[in-house]
């Protein structure tokens, strides 16, 4: 009973936070790309465009969902559902931090707790394999959407997408396999825990630095394949708008259209979390707590708050005088929360995990703002002639090093 209640609470929390993240990820993406291109980005709805995701959601929900007469009805409606389902299911097995311990509370004569729970929804022994299985099933959503639309652009998009995802799954799986050799576990929590500790007192034992086989090349291969698996620029051939209008989702509108976008962003978050857990040590800090890594989170939020306060007192735009001090107060509150001693063991690992995932997401957006799109034959020959042999070689070298070096 206790387990059920705690799991339901965690489920509700994670669902709410994850959905909000997905909506605001788009705001972050638009802002970052705008600033890379020396523009303002969304700035009309709410202060700094912060209510833009809400406006987008309302717009997409209230729009009329048009179902063209020539589509293959059942599969046309099944496809976005499949895409979202497969994208959201993997977040349930990703751990974000250590354990949460709530001491016993006396309330109205009854004792509640003590409670002990891990920061994840489900702990699966075969976590890595399950992520691979779910992501390989994700192709069906896009392929079916392309096929059932009965439209040549959509069909081409669906075909491109399935060919691309099958091809890049090979280097991705091989790149994932090599840190598993050093970690010796398939459970995501076990893999992250195996990267705890430091060399010489300050170099973290993350998989990309870990002796005897640093996985830096596997990490690069993994990230490149992740771009192709999530259909992001420079590999967004399935929805290349200047060749295929909009690719596999030409015929979709309203909520069904939105669900493909949600699936894309959810896949991005999942793949960044998996990369963090496998290669960047999950929630292990960059340098030991003895050298003060616990103070990084409060310091960052304090700095952000001070910058906001300074710009609020010297406003560049008229409304900054009112909005930026509010942000400053929010940042100061977060800094206080991060420095509050009873919460430090819970929030510090969570901060490091989210910071790494956020950095990888930023790399995704940064590259979208920087690189042009590949040509389709370049995409395929890159996967098969360079990435796949490189991943294979990396796995071989890792295997030898792990077996030979004691």
């Amino acid at each position: 009973m206790e387990f059920l209640v705690i799991t339901l609470i965690k489920l509700a929390l994670i669902t709410f936070i994850f959905m909000t993240t997905l909506a605001y990820l788009q705001w972050v993406e638009r802002k970052v790309i705008a600033h890379v291109q020396v523009r303002m980005g969304p700035s009309r709805v709410g202060p700094h465009g912060l209510l833009q995701p809400l406006a987008d959601v309302i717009k997409l929900i209230t729009k009329e969902g048009v179902m063209p007469p020539h589509v293959n009805g059942g599969y046309y409606l099944l496809a976005p559902f499949l895409a979202v389902f497969m994208a959201l299911i993997s977040i349930s097995i990703i751990p974000f931090g250590g354990a949460i311990d709530i001491p016993a509370i006396q309330l109205a004569g009854k004792t509640f707790g003590p409670y002990h729970t891990m920061m994840e929804l489900a702990s699966v022994n075969m976590g890595v394999l399950m992520i691979l299985a779910v992501s390989s099933m994700g192709v069906y959503g896009i392929a079916l959407a392309g096929w059932s639309s009965n439209n040549k652009y959509a069909l081409l998009g669906g075909l491109r997408s399935s060919a691309q995802m099958i091809s890049y799954e090979l280097p991705m799986s091989l790149a994932i396999a090599s840190p598993l050799l050093t970690a010796g576990s398939l459970q995501l929590r076990g893999i992250a825990d195996s990267q705890a500790g430091f060399y010489l007192g300050f170099v973290p034992k993350w998989a990309i630095f870990q002796m005897p086989a640093p996985q830096i090349f596997a990490f690069i291969i993994f990230m490149i394949a992740a771009f192709a698996e999530t259909n992001r620029i420079p590999f967004d051939l399935p929805e290349a708008e200047n060749e295929l209008v909009a690719g596999f989702h030409v015929e979709y509108s309203s909520m069904t259209f939105a669900s493909f976008f949600m699936a894309e962003y959810a896949n991005m978050v999942t793949v960044c979390s998996v990369g963090t857990l496998l290669f960047l040590g999950g929630w292990q800090p960059l340098w030991p707590a003895a050298l003060g890594s616990n103070f990084v989170a409060p310091a960052i939020f304090l700095g952000a708050g001070l910058i906001c306060l300074y710009h609020g007192l010297n406003p560049a735009r008229p409304f900054d005088r009112y909005t930026l001090p509010v942000f400053a107060v929010v940042f100061f509150g977060l800094a206080g929360l991060m420095a509050f001693p009873p919460l430090v063991p819970v929030l510090t690992p969570l901060f490091w995990f989210l910071a790494k995932v956020g950095f990888l997401l930023f790399v995704f957006i940064w590259i979208r703002a920087t690189l042009p799109r590949f040509r389709y034959d370049q995409l395929m020959s890159f996967a098969w002639k360079f990435l796949f042999p490189a991943a294979l070689l990396n796995l071989l070298v890792t295997g030898f090093l792990v077996a030979l070096v004691p």
Partner: protein
Amino acid sequence: MDLFFFSLFAFIALICAVNVVLQKHPISSALSLVGVMASLAVLYLLLGAEFVAMSQVIVYAGAVMVLFVFVIMLLNAGIEVHHGRSWMAKLLGFPAFLAILGLLCFFVQRGFPNVGSVRFGDWEGGGAQQVGYALFTEYLLPFEVTSVLILIAIIGAIVLARKELD
């Protein structure tokens, strides 16, 4: 609980399997086959064979069937047209099916008389470590021979595909 999940997914697997044959469109048949593969994976999971279950989804549902769907979409295969079946098939089809099923049951019963009934959650040897250990000790020769077989298939595919280049 185990029994409930077993009945549910066995039922889904059976429905999907029948659907593979009954559907007229190749895409529908292929997707029903995906349903069969996925339900089989759940049945393996119920028996404790975690690694086999995940491999089932990754290899069959995720790779083989995606290729099937890809090829069907690429060739743009249309709806099958059913011609009238011969009276032999109509008359003998179902009895022959029952007879083959009966024979199969008979031989399984005959060959493995002491198997006993299946119990869920008893068996713990389905993890990746145990599977890997068994593959590289007890079943090393079959494992290596299979890899040579797959290599032959890959070389054969390359030879067949190269023909038009020359």
